[in-house]
């Protein structure tokens, strides 16, 4: 399983054809194929390439919706 630093994760922002990856509770999900993550943006306020663990605490859904997408790695605090 690939290990991502937060800096590396930021490169997967869904812009200009790049994949959209988001992190939650240490796991990195590939949401590139999601209609709801087109161009790396979700519900206007959330961006791909970021850790959404805190945002999901107040979101209208939990990690179960992210679990529909492939896990491509885990977050590490440093390379």
């Amino acid at each position: 399983m690939r290990r991502f630093t937060r800096e590396e994760l930021r490169q997967y922002d869904g812009r200009e054809g790049r994949p959209s990856y988001v992190a939650c509770n240490g796991r990195v999900y590939d949401v590139s194929d999601s209609f709801l993550w087109r161009d790396g943006v979700h519900q206007v306020t959330h961006r791909a390439g970021t850790d959404l663990t805190e945002a999901l605490r107040i979101a209208p859904h939990g990690e179960e919706l992210l679990e529909r997408f492939p896990v491509v790695g885990v977050i590490v605090d440093s390379a």
Binding site: F35, Q43, V44, T45, I58, P60
Partner: protein, 184 residues
């Protein structure tokens, strides 16, 4: 634009440009859902399908009403609808409620319907969370729409065997019990 009304929302700490974008995307979801539900409704036929047709029709009309109710708030806040209808369709906050591959499969139809409603329930909950205590007018509008989306979800969920909806379908041609006071 309602200049002072927008200013009040900004002063409350809301990013109004982001809020307007959310409202436009949800308005797009409502109008496109109205369109896709039209196709679903006409395909709800036969012994099983006919039983769902009227309830799908109520949800279809109410989604159109949600579009109508959202538009004034978008313009009050300084936003606008896109000039291009295709661009509007493509920015929808929810995926298209496409007819299933087998349109005689009523359970597949119900899954499309309930997923569309669940997307809407999450979307308006998000808007309510963003605006609660800050933008009273948008909050009240989003909460009114949310009430109806929750009812739609529970109607279709009941037909999927997930448990009773807890209420009756609309009667007497009356629609949008929560949103009608926001209609132009």
């Amino acid at each position: 634009m309602a200049r002072v009304a927008r200013e009040m929302v900004e002063r409350a700490g809301i990013n109004v440009d982001e809020l307007v974008e959310l409202l436009v995307k949800n308005a797009a979801a409502e109008l496109t859902t109205y369109y896709y539900y039209t196709i679903l409704r006409v395909n709800l036929i036969g012994l099983e399908g006919e039983g769902l047709k009227q309830i799908a029709e109520a949800a279809r009309i109410e989604d159109r009403n949600h579009f109508e109710a959202l538009v004034p708030r978008i313009y009050e806040l300084g936003g606008k609808l896109p000039d291009d209808m295709k661009a509007f369709h493509d920015m929808s906050a929810c995926p298209p409620a496409n007819l299933p591959a087998d349109p005689t499969d009523v359970k597949a139809m119900l899954k499309v319907l309930v997923e569309a409603e669940r997307c809407a329930v999450r979307g308006y909950t998000h808007i309510c969370n963003l605006t609660a205590g800050k933008d009273h007018r948008t909050y009240q509008l989003a909460a009114a729409i949310l009430n109806e989306e929750i009812e739609h979800e529970s109607w279709f969920s009941e037909f999927l065997g997930e448990g009773p909806s807890g209420h009756f379908m609309r009667e007497g041609g009356v629609t949008s019990p929560f949103v009608s006071r926001y209609l132009p």
